[in-house]
């Protein structure tokens, strides 16, 4: 009984912030006072219209969508190909490569912001969505590469043998056989990375400092607090716009996301 109560109370505490966000978003009196929020007569959807139009969150939404879709596709291909090469081929420097990949995991993103920002400036993409995509794709993605590698390791050799018999080239073998059957890993990478990129904050913040037009939703919410007379309602509405797509994605594909997260302790 005590254990049930503890879990129930904790669950209520963990849900409260989400509930409050929705309450503020649908309240039209711009208040954070808890008692005012419970007043049903001041409810409406005006804040959503405000956030979408005045707060430029429509721009932020499409920026975030473009960056997420392109980055996730690139990361998926890059890590599947690398995982395949590490699983199926022996080559000079394989150990060194694996070691270098492992080292990069420990280094915090903030370390990379300074040099990567300069590299993007040299490439003249420092204030564009392309720069943002490069910064996202440029990470190490070690967990995903190792997941692909392990998946390919566990497939029977007969697969390669029979494909060779059928006259597949190395590239056809990957694209027509190995990549398509790695569906569980593809799902994991797509779902996990979509959620990470959608929520990404530090690089989008730095790359949009001089060009607000490339702000993502995350940065939009953050900058909105500093630049306007605090409009809690519109901000909470923007919060809902930011969080809702990811929550839906998570609820539909829980298993894949949990697999992706577990990779960190299993690998």
């Amino acid at each position: 009984m005590i254990r049930k109560t503890i879990v129930s109370i904790a669950a209520v505490l963990w849900l409260t912030p989400f509930v409050i966000m929705v309450l503020i978003a649908v309240n039209q009196t711009n208040t954070t006072s808890f008692l005012d929020l419970l007043n049903p007569s001041s409810m409406g959807v005006k804040n959503f219209a405000d956030a979408w139009q005045q707060g430029d969150f429509s721009v932020g939404f499409f920026n975030t969508l473009i960056v997420t879709v392109v980055s996730v596709a690139a990361i998926l291909l890059l890590s599947a190909m690398a995982g395949y090469a590490l699983s199926k081929f022996s080559f000079l420097g394989k150990k060194l490569l694996t070691a270098l990949m492992a080292v990069t995991v420990l280094i915090p993103t903030v370390f990379f912001t300074i040099p990567v920002y300069q590299i993007l400036r040299m490439m003249h993409v420092d204030t564009t969505l392309a720069g943002l995509i490069l910064a996202e794709v440029g990470g190490a993605h070690v967990i995903f590469i190792l997941m692909f590698r392990q998946f390919f390791d566990n497939l029977p050799n007969e697969l390669t043998e029979s494909a060779k018999m059928d006259g597949c080239s190395e590239y056809q073998m990957f694209w027509k056989i190995y990549f398509p059957i790695s569906k569980p890993i593809i799902g994991t990478v797509v779902i996990t990375q979509s959620i990470w990129t959608w929520n990404s904050f530090l690089f989008p913040l730095i790359l949009s400092l001089n060009n607000p037009a490339v702000r993502t939703l995350s940065v939009g919410i953050y900058s909105f607090q500093g630049e306007n007379i605090v409009n809690w309602g519109a901000m909470a509405a923007a919060g809902c716009i930011t969080i809702l797509p990811v929550v839906v994605l998570f609820l539909c594909f829980q298993k894949y996301f949990i697999n992706g997260m577990e990779g960190a302790v299993k690998g």
């Binding site: 669950a11 990069t104 370390f111 440029g138 904050f201 302790v265």
Partner: protein, 297 residues
């Protein structure tokens, strides 16, 4: 049996995208950052001078840097302990307690990871604002309102609270994976022996999961040292630098110094130190461990 084959050209093409990313966006930046740290560059001008270790020397004389380092370590220690303790307890109760609808509770506790930190920062600011829900509830039980965001101590407590809420999701998933490492045979056998619930936890789960717990502890500690998003969105390092961490210190110095010109090189040297901190801690633990073993034998 797993076999590998030699086909250097195929291996090269399959690895090319990943290796170019690794070189351009990981290895080259490490070198570049090291070079910057020896210059006096502001990040904008086209020239800069080599000044050797001067950045590092001023860094170690900079009270702001020491404050950030102290806060980062304190935060990482407290956050790791709180996050791990609370998440383990709840995960254990949900997975092995008398709870129906386990899936429902799992979703609730995992949900915070999928919420963008910027949005989380904003929500918690409203919850902990002076007339916000938390103070309203505190008043109801007779406790006066707390100015969470403007008091140095409470702002620090606030980021700890929010980090526990936010990281619960990640850790819950880790523990779920960890529980699977304890074989059901062992659990069944222990039940047959009539071990109580508490006994199961202390004598079966905690000892058997020790490797997982250490690994999760390490990951959580390193992640807490890296923390940026939540702190920047909640407090921005304030009030009076009470929640300034190494990460926000670097960000402010390199990109957002509203009061002074940006000091890219100085920030780069701080970034190098940040990378060295976990290495130093790891080395320290090893030295202490071997000293302990020597004194025991």
């Amino acid at each position: 049996m797993k076999t590998t084959r030699k086909n250097s050209s195929a291996a090269f093409w399959f690895l090319l995208p990943m290796v170019s990313c690794l070189i351009i966006f990981q290895l080259y930046p490490i070198a570049l950052n090291l070079i910057y740290s020896f210059l006096n560059w502001n990040g904008i001008s086209s020239t800069a001078n080599f000044i050797g270790l001067d950045n590092y020397i001023s860094l170690f004389q900079d009270a702001q840097f020491w404050n950030a380092l102290k806060n980062s370590l304190l935060y990482a220690l407290l956050a790791t302990a709180l996050q791990m303790g609370i998440s383990f307890g709840l995960a254990y109760l949900v997975e092995y307690g008398p709870i129906r609808r386990k899936g429902f509770f799992r979703v609730i506790f995992i949900l915070p990871i999928v919420a963008a930190s910027a949005a989380v920062g904003m929500i918690f600011k409203t919850l902990f604002s002076y007339d916000g829900m938390v103070n309203t509830v505190l008043n109801l039980i007779g406790i006066p309102s707390v100015s969470w965001l403007s008091s140095p101590l409470w702002a620090f407590v606030l980021i700890l609270i929010v980090s526990v809420w936010k990281e619960m999701g990640t850790l819950f998933i880790y523990w779920m994976a960890g529980f699977k490492t304890v074989s059901t045979d062992v659990i069944e056998a222990a039940k047959m022996d009539g071990l109580s619930n508490g006994g199961m936890l202390w004598r079966i789960f905690l000892p058997l999961m020790k490797p997982v717990i250490l690994l999760v502890g390490f990951i959580t500690f390193v992640n807490s040292l890296k923390a940026f998003d939540l702190i920047q969105t909640l407090t921005g390092g304030g009030p009076y630098f009470a929640t300034e961490m190494l990460s926000t210190f670097i960000y402010q110095t390199a990109f957002n110094s509203s009061m002074a010109p940006p000091r890219m090189s100085y920030a780069a040297s701080a970034a190098i130190v940040v990378v060295l901190v976990p290495v130093a801690i790891y080395g320290l633990i090893k030295i202490i461990k071997s000293a302990l073993e020597r004194s025991r034998s």
